[in-house]
Symmetry: C2
Subunit: 323 residues, 2 copies
């Protein structure tokens, strides 16, 4: 029998998939190759964790926003846009010039099926479509702009510390951003990973998009500054915990289960959390860190009481998952 | 002595460069490599024709918008954002997986200096920064959103016909878009170029971004639907004329003058306008087509009288230029 959190994730993923099906150009629309390449990667079996977090953050914040307006559809489409950004980053990361991965979630990567040129352009187009989707959200214009600024920061080149309690309209390069994390990760290859370096990479490369999924969900609900700050702290901790567990799974799981080459990250001395501690007890200490981060995340949403239970359950799932 | 149009372009380029200098992350901000790569390509000697067209369209429309508000700074930053999008597309086009060009405007291309991985990510980051810059424009929120939707369409995967007099909020894939044109261009390599195919590629790959530069300038001025429609027709014709002249210059100019390998397009039977007519009279007939398109563009802005003179002078320059 599926647990409550499994149900939340399953229904959230279905909701997201329906939106993505509607928002992505049909595979029968010219130019066919790029539309098929975009769909190949978007529908390659992702768990839609970012859209689910976005939706649950919206649902939570809706209960505390004084002027909450019904915006369920906007919350769903926002989640779909974030999933497009996540997919674009995976397509480009997998390219021969970057991580050179042939498999992703057990399926051939975009460039293996469609070639490098179409894969580069499919990633580009998914980024464009994500911003287009956000611009078209059915919500107040000022909310859309707040979300656009948050998300553009989160997928940009910044590698600075996560600003938990400041205004979100960071100057370019000052907030942690996905591309920035990717660059630092690339450039630090072969260097001995330090705790500070790995945390910086993780907070930027993975954490920023997870955090903004949750914060933007709050924006859609018209959340107060205090609520947004709490969601940002929650997201920052949950996002880092997610990536630590990802590092651990990469080491402990078999290749077949994960659908990618297990242990590959450590083999090339990439920056991973367990590598900072060293093996073998790096795994146990990493998992303990992840659990502590989740506890910190929970503390941030304590004032919301039981209304935060579903969001908390999903965050707990992020660190308890086995794949 | 510089002509009036040369002065318009020179001052417009300087204005754009100052904005880009301010908007791009400093080369001393970590991660350095990507910020230096972004600047390498953005400051590689582009003429800033799109920002100049955007600014002049804003200046023209401002004179006819009943509720015009001072928005010069927004018009300049919008132009800078469009130049970022143009530069991102050039960086990705030049990659070995696409056009494999070592030189652009006489300088080594981004991937030749920084490697393929950083070049891919620098293109990605310029797209992100462009949308971020637009989201931060100092203009009414609803105007920003109109512009974002227009621009996301113009750089997307669509290859449909340019809709001159319909609402601009096209569904994904229905309006001509830059990436769509790039894909059709790639896929038609080796095929004999037909007039319809080349026009489709040019209107999507080059024309859409030039058109939206002009239309978005009108939006910043709060232009009426009629004015926006006229600017859209003007831009569609001027953009196609620009690319036809580009094709001609590629054939007739020496490698050293253009800073890229001259004649390369025809050598691989790429889709060019003169190739449709066949050489040698393809060049003369192409130039005649470009002049006719400019005449059509001028007709669309006829009702604006002499207020359109500067915008017209720049469009005329696009087809009269020798490099």
């Amino acid at each position: 029998m599926a647990s409550h959190v499994q149900e939340l994730i399953r229904t959230g993923a279905e909701r997201t998939d329906r939106a993505l099906e509607r928002l992505l150009p049909s595979p029968d629309t010219a130019p066919h190759s790029i539309h098929r390449a975009m769909r190949h990667s978007v529908f390659a079996g992702g768990k839609r964790l970012r859209p689910v977090l976005c939706f649950e953050a919206w649902r939570l914040a809706s209960r505390f926003a004084p002027s909450a307006i019904p915006a369920e559809q906007a919350a769903i489409e926002l989640g779909a846009a974030i999933e497009m950004l996540h997919t674009y980053s995976l397509i480009h990361d997998d390219l021969p010039a970057l991580d050179n991965d042939d498999l992703r979630r057990g399926q051939p990567t975009c460039h293996k099926v469609f070639g490098d040129a179409i894969a580069i352009l499919a990633g580009d187009a998914l980024q464009t479509l994500a911003f287009h989707t956000i611009a078209r959200l059915d919500c107040p214009a000022i909310t859309t702009i707040d979300i656009l600024k948050e998300i553009a920061s989160a997928v940009g080149t910044g590698v600075g510390p996560a600003p938990a309690e400041v205004d979100f309209d960071f100057p370019a390069g000052q907030a942690p951003g996905m591309i920035g994390g990717q660059v630092v990760d690339l450039e630090s290859e072969g260097q001995p990973p330090t705790a500070a370096l790995v945390e910086q990479i993780h907070r930027a490369k993975t954490g920023a998009l997870i955090t903004v999924s949750i914060v933007a969900g709050g924006h859609i609900a018209g959340a107060s500054h205090d609520t947004l700050d709490r969601l940002r702290i929650f997201g920052g901790n949950a996002g880092l915990a997610f990536q630590i567990v990802d590092d651990v799974l990469d080491i402990t799981e078999e290749s077949a289960q994960l659908g990618k080459t297990a242990g590959k990250d450590t083999a090339v001395t990439k920056a991973t959390w367990p590598a900072v501690y060293g093996l073998p007890d790096g795994v146990a200490r990493s998992l303990a860190d992840a659990q502590q981060l989740i506890a910190d995340a929970f503390a941030a949403v304590e004032p919301f009481g039981t209304a935060a239970d579903d969001l908390k359950a999903i965050a707990q799932y992020l660190v308890d998952r086995k794949n």
